[in-house]
């Protein structure tokens, strides 16, 4: 028994370590209908930085984010789940979630974007925190509506500081105890907007999405 076990252990230890599990809606039927009232359907697709653009895309995303991808939730081959929401035969928008390190493990932050790339709805699915109720409240999520990546470019996750003026100045931590998770949420929202921009709205030439070619 010992020899095969030892060999298998060596194989495992020597193998590359990149994959991770993605971020899905708990109940897509219910969540899509809630985030896009009047929608008639949705289609699920799995995307990854590795297959769409590889290391170059990852470097570009990190540069736009102003922070490095790190840890278990931000490997290059994390499968991102994109829900393309339809109303009849027309695309009504997109729903996309990301995992983000927070005070107690991981938080899942979903954005519902219209075809104009602006946030229609903001939704924290998984969050283990004493401040979860505050961060999930309508009062906290409402100011995110209408914002886009253009506004979030002013936020620097590495410095963890919001601009004092401009559209993002309305975003506030709901309480002092929610501060750490609030900063995690802001980083997740910016990361999410950048990924959607890369995947759907304006991918770089050669990144491999037909949406990008059309948009440009």
């Amino acid at each position: 028994m010992t020899k095969p076990l030892f060999v298998l252990s060596l194989l495992l230890a020597a193998a590359p370590s990149f994959a991770a599990v993605g971020c899905d809606l708990n109940d897509p039927d219910r969540d899509v209908a809630r985030l896009f009232p009047g929608s008639t359907g949705y289609k699920t697709a799995y995307l990854s930085v590795k297959t769409l653009g590889g290391g170059k895309m990852l470097a570009r995303i990190e540069a736009r984010l102003g922070d490095k991808f790190k840890g278990l939730y931000e490997t290059i081959d994390v499968p991102y789940t994109l829900y393309t929401v339809t109303k009849g035969t027309v695309t009504a928008g997109y729903i996309h979630g990301v995992n983000q390190k927070s005070e107690y493990g991981g938080t899942q932050v979903f954005l519902a974007l219209g075809t104009d790339a602006r946030i229609k709805a903001f939704y924290i699915q998984k969050l283990t925190s004493k401040a979860a109720k505050e961060l999930r409240s309508a009062a906290f999520s409402a100011p995110f509506t209408g914002l886009s990546l253009k506004e979030f470019e002013a936020y620097d996750p590495a410095a963890a500081k919001l601009p004092e003026t401009g559209p993002l100045s309305v975003l506030k931590s709901p309480s002092p105890r929610a501060r750490k998770d609030f900063l995690s949420v802001l980083r997740a929202v910016k990361k999410n907007l950048i990924l959607l921009d890369e995947f759907v709205f304006s991918p770089a030439p050669g990144a491999g999405t037909s949406a990008g070619g059309a948009a440009k």
Binding site: S17, F18, L72, S148, L149, G208, S210
Partner: protein
């Protein structure tokens, strides 16, 4: 960059997007059992399916029509190796079901989780610490069909299965299970369920039928609770099994530590209350995520029913391909 022609976006699906997820799974398992008085390559007994040195895959395929997602195919299998087992090399099939959207919820057919207890939604197919079915009360997965409906407050599920567990060929048995739950764990940080099962099921150990069909009932309640970096799970179950009344209970406490919860410490107590086989199984373990694909785990378990003290270690690998 932000002024995108809407008409083009409306018909622009993301190319190179995939409709499937495929993972490679491999694990090395080794330990020592005081009952067997030797090193072993299994975390439970040699006759049970989990956990053993193995390699396998995990596939999730989405099917979409013009109106969007229509169905999902899940296939999850592995080839396990254990020198002490009845079949040294054993192909094992866990998920093997087709799940389709219906106006009232989801319908599934194949090999899937029955609508009872923690095992109805808590996946332990790669873990050392197990839920009640691996201690003889219920089935981790079973062949048959079922339906589920998620609601704003929780969900309902019903399943009609063969009661044969892992074994694809039924033994003439049947098992009807239903569960109602409140709360969604990954949203509400809690899920509480009440369930009932009734049928005629064989006594099985892995893929082997040990005894013919006999009446089986289970009534119970399960609970999962997340609080900051603490996790609590419980499952209380009673009914009739192999002609005797039983009561079984599971309680598990978990503590997540380090960056991104890389380290998890857990302690679990299982009470096995089948008449003439009463006793506790106490376990404590640790799991550490070395990378996003590779975890190492260790478990010490004291089984008063079998009079066994086991130490098990595991390297578990799960890679997207």
């Amino acid at each position: 960059m932000y002024k995108i022609p809407l008409i083009l976006l409306a018909f622009a699906p993301a190319a190179q997007a995939e409709s499937r997820l495929l993972y490679l799974e491999a694990q090395a398992v080794g330990g020592y059992s005081s009952m067997e008085k030797k090193t072993v390559a299994h975390s439970m007994t040699a006759d049970e399916v989990m956990q053993k040195p193995s390699a396998g895959f995990d596939l999730l395929q989405k099917f979409s029509g013009t109106s969007g997602d229509a169905a999902t195919l899940a296939l999850q299998g592995r080839l396990s190796w254990d020198p002490d087992a009845h079949n040294r090399l054993e192909p094992q099939l866990y998920n093997a079901y087709f799940r389709a959207r219906a106006p009232f919820g989801y319908l599934w057919a194949g090999h899937n989780r029955t609508a009872a207890g923690l095992e109805s939604y808590f996946d332990t197919h790669g873990a050392l610490l197990q839920t009640l079915p691996m201690y003889g009360y219920g089935l981790d997965r079973d062949w048959g069909a079922g339906f589920s409906r998620d609601t704003a407050w929780g969900g309902t599920a019903l399943s009609m299965t063969t009661g044969s567990g892992m074994r694809p060929r039924g033994a003439g048995g049947w098992l009807l299970s239903g569960r109602v739950s409140r709360g969604v764990l990954s949203r509400d940080n809690f899920s509480a369920g009440a369930y009932a099962s009734a049928g005629r099921v064989p006594r099985t150990a892995g893929y082997r039928v040990m005894e013919n069909n006999r009446p089986y009932t289970a009534f119970g309640s399960d609970l999962a609770l997340l609080l900051d970096n603490w996790e609590f799970r419980s499952d209380l179950r009673f009914g009739k099994l192999r002609g005797s009344d039983y009561f079984s209970a599971l309680g598990r406490l978990g503590l997540n530590l380090l960056e991104e919860n890389r380290l998890k410490l857990e302690a679990q107590g299982v009470y096995s209350g089948l008449k003439r086989e009463e006793g506790w199984i106490l376990g404590s373990g640790a799991s550490y995520a070395l990378t996003s694909d590779l975890a190492c785990r260790a478990l010490f378990e004291y089984d008063a029913v079998m009079r066994d003290r086991r130490v098990t270690t595991q390297l578990y690998y799960y890679l997207k391909i």
